[in-house]
Symmetry: none
Subunit: 199 residues, 4 copies
DNA sequence: CCCTAAACGAGACGGTACGTCGTGTCTTACG
DNA sequence: CGTAAGACACGACGTACCGTCTCGTTTAGGG
């Protein structure tokens, strides 16, 4: 039987990994995302293409990895830190902190990743597991507490509430462009809250 | 001035055009959208690649054209026909008619187009002009009437209301997958309406 | 029966013809012969491609026509004018007059035409009929007189004598490059004559 | 310095190389030389076009390589083997052996290559370096010995003597067609010798 | 002198090949 | 064995010309 050549993560060279992720991010921001390619990343990182294919299945996965690594702590810390007793304030803080603070200027990368994910189911799954899912869980948690507090109507499904909130953000990002500023994020929270509050 | 070689639409061969659009749609649904290529469309339509490049700037533009052409009447008729006095009923009908009726099974094509548009500004513009913009205008019109009727709060910006409604649909399509059925579209309208109604 | 659409030379537009030939020559000398194309000639002459195809079968034929037209009188006059009683002098004059005088700087065009003719039998035939054949006849005539005069050995086939003379010229043009100057043309005649003279 | 991507000959795959050359020759003889294309060779050899472009600059270079490889030993052995004391016999043997024996049926390939070389200076150089030059050197060597022996006049430049001989062959091949048989090659040598011998 | 058939400009069209790029697999040589 | 380097088969890219084919629009010549 063939040994199936599963690479051994223990022997992975961390410097090489870092060089690849760095190169991916640098090319994404410099040359424009459309020109990101495995070949380009390999050349820029001074790395064999083989090495990239050994550890990542696609260019999207590399970019996601590079982008998410810089994001993770940032993003989840901000989402977790909104723990006052005022749901409206917390929601505004979460939306602003996540969308403008943590993601901020890298919004085009997110858009590119989601675009790529429409052609690549594996990337889509990775994206959900890595970014979308955790974010939803953290926000859902806060919404559940708001339901307990009576600040959100009891018949609201937290995940549908998230659709209502994040839908606005992604819709503007991906479909109907417009400014992404504090006025917008506040308005997103306000508009959603009008529908979430108990009547 | 440079000759610029702008082709003359009057000399365009309608049979050729039809063959190309048909081939594009057929390949999109048969072989999977990832495999759509100018080369493939040309071969399938029995057409020179040059002829495609003469009239469309990219494969995305061809698919958009083919897809939108079949959609247009359908979609806009459904959006226009919701003219009862009950905004809730009309909204549900619009969302259901557009998302499930007109778009229906071709939702993956829409997702693919928006994905493609994230890499291609021209396609993004075309998509907005051809699909997103007109849809928004038609819905905005109905919302304005609902404001006049007092069924929607006077301080609501119709376009932000559309973000609230369509955001949910596109978010589920592009970001966080889930069923697209009548229960969902009704819920989309319900949830949005909770926030839009006068208090 | 189909009318076969043989074009009527009487209705041929002489200005158009002139414009095409002029454009062909101009492009040949300016842009380099490798870039000569029917499309290019048509554009430059402000003429439809159809018009070129109506009167010439290939780009080689156009260039040959253009080139030969300027050459003909020149070339044949020079070949005919060598009618002294001194065959050696006449031969040198013929070779020099034809190769350096009439053809002169357009030698690359001739090389290109012969190159093209290796791929295109029609052009090869045209070239022989238009240039090679007549030249050979004129020279053969003078050689026959030299045989009568006793300046060339009686067992010499005039056409083989021409092979001996012109072979050197074309060999240098097409195969083994070297200078084309008066020293060379004289040497060509000298060397050939050594073999042609009666022993 | 620029990386310049010079391919490393040590890593060249000999099987691939052989497949390409074989395909080139096969297509040249089967489909006719006019139809030889990089695309066709690649398809026939089961090889990527990139691989051809990596090692050869043009289709002409591929055909030359394929053709010359089969020719080389053959041709030069024949030219070298004419080492009797009779220059006339040796010359006839060289001309016949090279032109009818070694080249033989592949004469159209040679004509096509020289035709191609009229449009492609790189190919012309390669052709001279690979075929014309070495041939000339070998023949010049024998002529020099003939001068030493007194069988060729002392004032004869060996290279001009070669022009005289080979000129006839190439002239017939490229310019004024005629049979290529033993009568012809003998006549070529005879006619040339009349001019080369001491008076 | 008009009428009609052609030659003409323009360029769309189906093709073939071009030369380049990126993909994902592979082989080689090194540490 | 992981790695840098890059050759390789493949498929698509976007471009250039090919030769054929409509389109109107001149432009003659024969009725």
């Amino acid at each position: 039987m063939s040994p199936s050549h599963t690479p051994d993560p223990a022997r992975r060279n961390p410097q090489t990994t870092a060089a690849i992720l760095e190169a991916a991010l640098a090319m994404a921001s410099e040359s424009g995302l459309a020109k990101v390619s495995i070949e380009g990343i390999a050349a820029r990182a001074g790395v064999g293409k083989r090495t990239i294919y050994r550890w990542w299945p696609s260019r999207g996965a590399v970019v996601l990895d590079a982008w998410a690594q810089r994001l993770d702590d940032h993003l989840y810390k901000r989402l977790r830190s909104a723990q006052s007793d005022d749901f409206e304030a917390d929601l505004k803080q979460m939306v602003k902190g996540a969308w403008l603070g943590a993601i901020g200027d890298t919004r085009p990368v997110l858009a590119w990743l989601i675009g790529e994910a429409q052609h690549d189911p594996n990337l889509a799954a990775e994206l959900r597991e890595r970014l979308i899912g955790p974010t939803r869980e953290l926000v859902a948690e806060r919404i559940r507490r708001a339901k307990d507090d009576g600040q959100v109507a009891p018949d609201i499904d937290p995940y549908r509430a998230i659709d209502l909130i994040y839908g606005q953000l992604y819709y503007r990002l991906l479909v109907a462009p417009g400014p992404h500023d504090e006025a917008f994020t506040d308005s997103v929270a306000d508009l959603a809250l009008r529908g979430l509050r108990p009547r």
